[in-house]
Symmetry: C2
Subunit: 201 residues, 2 copies
C-alpha cells in the first residue's frame, strides 16, 4: 500500500558499504514499483572526506518540492561515526536502525525506537559481506513498513547486475525475515528502552 | 584547479547504463579530491518508470543551497529518449555531450556546442561494455575541463570495487584521450555547427 505521508530517511556509513545503492533501492521501490514519488540526494562536501558516506531519501505520495532532509524520520546507520554524527538529528518519535555489530548505541533519545540487525554477519552467511547494504534494506522494510516488501524486492532486482540478482534477493530476504521475526517478538513482549534485536529482545 | 563558478550537470540514459555512478564520480571528484562542493540528486517519479535514468550534479566552490537542476550547463546523454527529453532544457551557451552511436542529434540549439564520443565501442574495446559510463566521464572531463583529470581519476578509483579499478581507470583514460584529441582537432580546425567527434571533426 502506498504511504502518502512524506517520510524522510537518512542512510549513512563508510564509503564502500553501498549506502547510495541502498538509498536508490528504497527510492525506486516507492516511485517505480509503488506509484509514489521519491528523491535521493547526496551531498559531497568537506564532511564527505575521510571515507564516510551519507544519502538522503524522501518518500511521498505527491511530487517532492524540497529534497533536503534535515531531521529524518528514519535513520539507518552502518558505522559508529555515522551514528555519532546523525543520531542527534533524528526526529522525536523517529526510528533508529543500526548495524548492531558495527554501532554501539550509548543513548537512545526519548521517544525514539531503536532496532538493530547483524547485517554484516547475515551477509557473510551468504558468502558475500558486500551485500550487507541490501540486508539493511530488507530489515528497514520489515521494521518501518514504509514501502511494501514486494516493491522493495523488485527494486533490488532492478538495481543490481543480473549475475548478482539472486544473491541480492537472498540478502534482502534475510534482512526482511530477521526484521519480521523481531517485530513479532516485540508485539508479544512489548517495547523496551534499548536497541531491540533478536538476541536482546 | 578548482572551478568556483556553479555548474549544473545532468546525466541521463537508460537504466543499467550507470548514470548514477557517473554522477557520483563527478561529484566526488569536485568535493573530495578537489576541495569544492557538490550535490547529486536523483528524482524518481512517473518519469523514471520505463527504464530511463537521470541524475543531476551541481559543482560549486561554495556550499550549495538548492540542489535541483532546471537548465543544465552541461547535458550528458546516453540514449535517444534522454536526448529528446532533456536537450530543450539545456542552457543557452551550454554543452551537449552524446554517446554518438546511441544518440542521433537532429537539431543543435543556437549557441550550444555538441560533442560526441563512441563510448559503447570504446568500452567494448576493453571487453566490458558496462564501463561506457566511465568512458563518458573521461570524455566529459576532457571536453568541459570543469574538474581536473586527476581528481576525476581518483574519484573513479574510489567509487568502484577494487577488482574493477584497473578496468574502470582504463575506461576513463580512453574517454579522456578521445576528448583531448577532439579538442586539439577543434582548436586547429575551428568549431562547426554539428556534433563534433573525431570521425566527423
Amino acid at each position: 500500500m502506498l504511504q502518502r505521508v512524506l517520510s524522510e530517511i537518512r542512510i549513512a556509513g563508510f564509503g564502500g558499504q553501498g549506502v547510495i545503492l541502498a538509498a536508490a533501492v528504497i527510492g525506486k521501490a516507492q516511485a517505480i514499483f509503488q506509484g509514489g514519488y521519491a528523491t535521493m540526494t547526496q551531498s559531497f562536501g568537506p564532511e564527505a572526506r575521510g571515507g564516510s558516506s551519507s544519502a538522503q531519501v524522501i518518500l511521498s505520495g505527491e511530487p517532492i518540492l524540497y529534497p533536503y532532509v534535515t531531521h529524518p524520520d528514519v535513520l539507518v546507520v552502518m558505522s559508529q561515526e555515522a551514528y555519532t554524527r546523525f543520531a542527534p538529528q533524528l526526529k522525536s518519535g523517529g526510528t533508529l536502525i543500526t548495524e548492531r555489530d558495527l554501532v554501539r548505541v550509548d543513548h537512545i533519545p526519548h521517544g525514539v525506537r531503536a532496532y538493530g540487525v547483524p547485517a554484516t554477519r547475515l551477509a557473510e552467511e551468504l558468502g558475500r559481506k558486500v551485500v550487507l547494504n541490501i540486508v539493511m534494506v530488507g530489515f528497514f522494510g520489515a521494521v518501518t513498513k514504509l514501502v511494501d516488501a514486494e516493491a522493495l524486492r523488485k527494486a533490488v532486482a532492478d538495481s543490481v547486475p543480473p549475475a548478482l540478482e539472486k544473491l541480492n534477493l537472498q540478502a534482502f530476504d534475510k534482512g526482511f525475515e530477521y526484521g519480521s521475526l523481531l517485530m513479532d517478538r516485540i508485539a508479544e513482549s512489548g517495547e523496551a528502552e534499548e536497541v531491540l534485536s533478536l538476541e536482546s529482545a
